[in-house]
Symmetry: C2
């Protein structure tokens, strides 16, 4: 084996695989990114889907995604896809998993890296990018059949979102900068699909010491107005670096 290996370097001395497959074949992979963009509206979690405008899976539902350019970093590509759709750079854009089944793409060997992002639906009106025929918000608990292995990618992203949402202040992205504790509670209930006791939820949130009391109240609501808070990112970072862990 060792001997075999020593013959298996190319002319510049770089290691190449030692089976009888031409060197070039190892450099014919395509790489794409697929973004699972979560939004939140009326107590419901939504996902941004497109209608494909080209083969394969022409006209089918799919996650927004694109091939990575030869001189482009993966994260940059994911940001580009998101920016093409929403014209914003999301604060949360995290890698989920990478999918590379040999037969996942009919046009060749295409690896895809999944990302998930969270945006505030009210703030951004997404529009179809060049590579899509249409773009729609779809309920996260009612996803149609998607192209490629996108159902798997979406399912994984949803699981990862739910795992993270309790441990990182992910959710605050989905709220206006000033919000009531009731809105915050509804958000978490929507994301996690559970319900909390109001009194206990407030106590926990306020005791974590990452909310700034804005000393303002809601207006024009047909009930007692709630006090407005904002998220103290600086304080959160301080606590995080000191090792305290944020847990819902």
């Amino acid at each position: 084996m060792k001997e075999l290996y020593k013959e298996s370097v190319n002319r510049e001395g770089f290691a190449i695989p030692y089976y009888e497959i031409p060197y070039e074949k190892f450099f014919q992979f395509g790489l794409s990114v697929d973004c699972v963009v979560f939004g939140y509206h009326e107590n419901k979690l939504k996902v941004l889907l497109i209608k494909r405008g080209a083969k394969p899976y022409l006209g089918k539902w799919a996650l927004p995604g694109d091939l990575v350019y030869p001189n482009e970093n993966i994260e940059s590509a994911a940001n580009r896809v998101l920016r093409d759709l929403t014209e914003i750079d999301s604060l949360f854009l995290e890698q989920t998993k990478t999918y590379g089944q040999v037969d996942r793409h009919p046009a060749g060997r295409v690896i895809t890296t999944g990302f998930y992002a969270i945006i505030d639906i009210a703030k951004h009106d997404p529009h179809a990018a060049a590579w899509a025929d249409g773009i729609y918000w779809v309920d996260a608990d009612n996803i149609p059949q998607l192209a490629f292995d996108h159902n798997q990618i979406l399912t994984d992203a949803l699981r990862i979102l739910r795992e993270q949402v309790g441990k990182q202040p992910v959710g605050f992205e989905l709220l206006p900068s000033k919000f009531t504790l009731g809105e915050l509670q509804a958000l978490y209930e929507g994301l996690l699909g559970v319900s909390f006791d109001k009194a206990n939820f407030r106590k926990r949130m306020l005791s974590m010491d990452v909310l700034i009391d804005c000393d303002e109240y809601q207006k024009n609501v047909p009930h007692r107005p709630g006090k407005l808070y904002s998220f103290d990112l600086k304080r959160y970072s301080e606590l995080k670096s000191k090792g305290s862990n944020f847990e819902i």
Copy 2:
């Protein structure tokens, strides 16, 4: 943009990117896997490193890894690398992250997907595969400088291991099939770098109801022999599917 796109399909009608870069350039990526293999010995967490036998980074420390074959799934490639080194199929081989900085490999655009595995050092004596000049167990808290971005990959894997170890019964892989609660505690302390109260640790472990009492005891130890337990994978799966969560 839309118009531009509609011209941007190749002769079979597949979507191709719409910038002025030849189609072929999008399919010149290489894909590799890098495995962070954890082992545990004498209360210390170890990582399996190789000495590279070819350029680039000839003679430097690196993670074991290899290019993925054109007709090989990513997970299969990771399993192959591990099997080449240890002659076993690890029960735990999980994806961590994918790394694709444009300039991470001097020989071209190579994407790499990280994996982490856990094996029992006592059971498997690793040997250098064809693509390595040597293979060594190195203390996880004293890692030398590694080739490529392997230090980053290792750091991420270690963080992910520590996150998972409290939530999945990962650690049992590292112990003999029958073990004492003291050994289990030492393992978790080694992995997580903390120490637990003995009484409380036992209570928690036994209350989780995933340990089988073997009704046997240690032999030839210079102190009171501990009772032996084994991990009840079946019971664990049952509990998991019922939604109860295993937490250290």
